[in-house]
Structures are given as C-alpha cells and as structure tokens.
Symmetry: C2
Subunit: 359 residues, 2 copies
Amino acid sequence: MEHLWAVVMAGGSGTRFWPSSRAAKPKQLLPLADREGTGETLLAATVRRLAGMVPPERVVVVLAERLVEATAAALPEVPRENLLAEPIGRNTAPCVGWACAWVRRRDPDAVVAVLAADHHIADEEGYRAVIAKAVGAAERGELVTIGIRPTRPETGYGYVEVGDAIGGGVHRVVRFVEKPTRERAEEFLATKKFLWNSGSFFFRADRMLDEIRKSLPQLADTLDALDEAAKAGNETERVRALYPEIRGISIDHGVMEKADGVAVVPGDFGWSDVGSWQTAWELAGKDDAGNAARGEVVLVDAKGCLVLGDGRRVVAVVGVEDLVVVDTPDAVLVVPREQSQRVRDVVEALQKRGRTDVV
Amino acid sequence: MEHLWAVVMAGGSGTRFWPSSRAAKPKQLLPLADREGTGETLLAATVRRLAGMVPPERVVVVLAERLVEATAAALPEVPRENLLAEPIGRNTAPCVGWACAWVRRRDPDAVVAVLAADHHIADEEGYRAVIAKAVGAAERGELVTIGIRPTRPETGYGYVEVGDAIGGGVHRVVRFVEKPTRERAEEFLATKKFLWNSGSFFFRADRMLDEIRKSLPQLADTLDALDEAAKAGNETERVRALYPEIRGISIDHGVMEKADGVAVVPGDFGWSDVGSWQTAWELAGKDDAGNAARGEVVLVDAKGCLVLGDGRRVVAVVGVEDLVVVDTPDAVLVVPREQSQRVRDVVEALQKRGRTDVV
C-alpha cells in the first residue's frame, strides 16, 4: 500500500452541534465520539484509524481557509503543506479533483482514499479490512465506494444498489439512489440489495482525473491550470483566483453516478455520520442511569442525559430525563435528545438577531 | 409616624436560589420579583414599600458582616451606620433585641417594624394600609404581628390563631402554632381562624426590650452591655466579642409566644416569601407561552419555562416545558420548575466536592 494516500474532506461547517460547533470550529474538530475522554477529535480519529496503512506524509486534508490553523493543531503530525485550503466551498468534486491532481504530482501511481472528516467507526479492525478490499479494487483500476449495510429505513442518506460480485469482496454498483421516501427506504431495507452511500471513495488518482475530464471538462481544465501553477510555484494564488469560478457539484453526482464500472464494498463496521447530539449521546460512555457527562457536572436524579460542560463552570442537572445540556464559554443549549436536530432553529434565530459572533 | 423605624432582617443566607444566590449574594440581594425589569432587589423593594412612612434615616438593616458592602450598594440611601453587622448568626431574637436597643438610644419613643428582607408584596397599597393598623396598635403598647390569610393548606409556615377583635382592625392572638401536618393545615384553612405567621412584627422598642428582659434575661444583659459600649464608642468591638456567646433563638419562640397581650392584624396583600425558583416564575412577567426569560435568551417551542441568562452569554432552550434554566458566570442549573426545591441537593453535592467557591 505504499501508493495509498488519504484525502480527508474537512470542508464542512454545519450547525448541528451548536453551541460546541461554530463556523470557526466545525464538527470534525470536536471530540464527539471520544469514549475514552482523550479529547480526540473526529478528524484526528479519521487519520488515526488509517495508522499502518497511510503514514501522515500521505494524508491530505482539503479544508476551508479559515480552518487551517485549527486543523493543523488537531493533526500536528500531518505536514502543513498537505492541508489544501479552499478559498470558498464548491462541494466535493472540485475538492476531490484538486486533491487527486496534487497527489498525482507527487506519486503518479497514487491510489486515493477519499474520506469524510467527521464520521465515527466503532469497529476499526473491521473497517480496515474493508478498506483493504476497496484499495485492492482501486489498484486494479476500479472506482470504488463503501456501502454500509442499513440498520433502519433511513431517509437521510443516499443508497447504492449492489450488483454482481466481481471478486475480492467487491461488487458492481447497479445505481446510486438519492435520499428516498420512507416507503422506498423500507423497501430498500427489505430487499437487502441496497446499502447506504457512506461518502468514502477509493480510486487511482489518474483514473479519477480521467473521469473528471470526461464528466466535468471545465473542472479538468482548472486542474490542468493548477498543475501548471504548481510547476511555477504559485498554486496557492491560482487556487484563490480560479476556485470562485468553479461550478459546485458533488463527486457523487458529478462523476461517480455517470462513470462506468463503479464498484462497491459492503461494510458493516459500526459506521455513524454523527448527525446530531442524539448520536453523540449514543456514542458516548454512560453511567448506570444512561447519562453521558463531561466537565464539572452535578447530576441529581437525571436519566439518559448528555451533559457537556466546558470543564470549569459547574453544570447542575436535576430531575430530568433524556435532555441535552451543552455549556460553552459564550452559549448554553438545553434541548430534549430526541429533538436535538432543532438546534438549527436556534442558529437561525441567532443569525436573525445578528449574533454571528456565537454561531 | 415620626417615631416609626423599620428593622429589616437581612441575615439569611439560603441556597434555594442557587446558582444565582450564593453565600456572598443571598436571596434578598437578587431581583427575584422584578416584574418591570429594573433590577430591583427584594431588599430594595422592602425599603421602597415603606416610602412615605419610614425615611431612609430610620431604616435599620441587621445583616451578616460579609454582606455589608453588597447591602450598602443595594440600599445607597440608607446611612451606612444603620447597617448593623452581626459577626455570627444567632437567629432573630438577638437581631431584633440589638436593633431595638440601637433604635431606642436614638429615639426613646421609637416604634419598630421588624420586616423580612426577602419577601414579595403584590398589593403595596393594601400592605401599607395593614402596616398603618399594626403601627397604631404598636403605638398603643401592643406586640403586633401581621397574619396572612391562607390560600392553601401550606405546611411550610407557622400559623397564628386569631382571637377577639380589639379595635382598629386588630385582633388578640390566641396562640402561635408551629408548621402543621397537612391534615392540620387543612383544618386551619377550613376554620378560617388561622393565619400564616409572616414574620413581620410591630412594637415599641422599649416594650420589646422589657419583654426580652422577662423572657431572655441573658440577652437583655448583653444588650445593656452594648448600650454601655455605645456610650464608650466601642459598640462594634463589643458586638464582635459578645455575639458568639449569645444563645440563638427566634423572636417568635423566645418572646412573642410567651408574651401576654399579643395582637395580630390580618392581611391580604399578595404576600409571598419567594421560596423557590417556582415562586420566582410565578411572580415574573411571562410571554404568551408562559415563559419568563431574562438576558440573551433564545426560546424555540418552550412553554412555562423560567430562563435567566447573565445578559451576555446566549441561553438557548428548545422544545421543553416547565423547566428552570439559570445561567451565571460560573454555574448553570437545569431543573423542572416543580422540583426546584431540589436545588439544595446540588449545593450539598458541591460542598461535598469542596466546590465552596460556587455555593
């Protein structure tokens, strides 16, 4: 695997973990599945999981410019030059394209693992075994995705329909399906032929760049210009100039769904996209009453709560069940666990009030 | 009423309003019934209610030494020398005795109104009318208490049994009754002969000092010593030396219950002892959904909540009912309104942890 590179997509902002997540500190920079209390961020865990497969010098992180410092702090072992700063978000196709171009310059035989920066994997050994299969297929020239075996009729994810086995635990993809209705999601679950599209991809860098030239020729031209700029030593300046002109499109829509010979490796390793405080509670270590608490917390007759203090302030929670209480230096959130997706309403209200300092 | 003095008992500490109330900032120094949002403390309201009857120069506040600065700040119009600092709490009899001695030195014909610093009165005009009756009886030499018409079979208060009318809206007291069982409290409510003992008293200072000599001769000797010390100009030093030796006893038990010819004026002026966050919510101004909020608060689908921010930090409360959320610079509390008396469990837990800095 000496040609395996990891491209971690860390461009997301998101508001689902307010008040812990902010524009300047998005989800991937939070220790949201930090069962051992080491403070490991989702991003650091993403890189650590690849230990033994991808050394830090072959980890590339594509991220927003404003997050460079915080990301470098979270990943001290990754060379600073491997942090590719996008001046503006343009969805995942430009992100993947730029990373592939950047990597191919350094390693013409590079195989790239494109990974989300903010997911959680419970069974890391199982995960690495699946990765190994995906990398094997990618080395053989396939465009590979990992599909997660569904455990519920989830309507929040895209799906992948699994086709014939092509050896090595790999299957042909029949088609990608967008977020389904509840009814269709239940059908998908029943047929057992559909997997969740987890958003991680594996391919040779040169193969992906070929696909981009076919499906997104304008992007391919931009990437050519960046290759030229790199030779001239002014890639950063050119990225700043060219990025705003690029059309925003996802790698799924822009490339994978159009390409021939896409493969999928079914995976079953306790994947979670850590979508809400509810999920953070599910992933956290809990006491006998089902409370997950961090910081200087006083619980009196509390059950099933997630209580996150900032470490210094006291957070006292008395006589409540299934509540999320998150305390940060400038904001406090109280919301029932089952309603934690409504955090976005709070962020909207604060934006309307002009309180962008706390979102 | 040129001989009427107010003696405000502001010695209490209490933990029922944690985290807003602290050892250094007890309940009477909080704006707990501040419907107009002016920030008026319960203590300041106690003094303001007497406007027109007792000028600031005739207001005396008996308080703990550590609260002198904060109390002076809450009552800037009251002369600093009128703040009588107890080096240690010894219940209310020594407090009332000292204040009577102090007042009598300045006005041998003084009539004293002994008032709690931390109660709320909804109908202030009605209150002043009742006070006027009580003062009239006190001028005629009676020991007078104000009894509140019960609105529920409360087991948390003492009661006064009302006897014959003696003119001027004043009745003889048959007896004082300690906090009753639920069953007795219901009987009391049914007979209509019992009033809540509100803990405010009216008498001539010299009459009370005579009663103290009869019932608490040791305290009377101490007060004599303080009169001597005042002449010698070292009252403060003598208070510090003598107070620790005084037996702690309440004015109710120590004097009022033993005295002959005690009178009561029934009152019905929206009295509250502001006993818990639940009461603070009841007294507060509320929005259409029954929420009382102060500070930078974001409410999303919240009902019947009391949410107190510290003014700068954002407090977001989503999808909950009847919850108390109190945010202070070093502590946050979340508790259902109906359980707000359990705040004391939090304070106990913090004391056990040695976190006396936050209680």
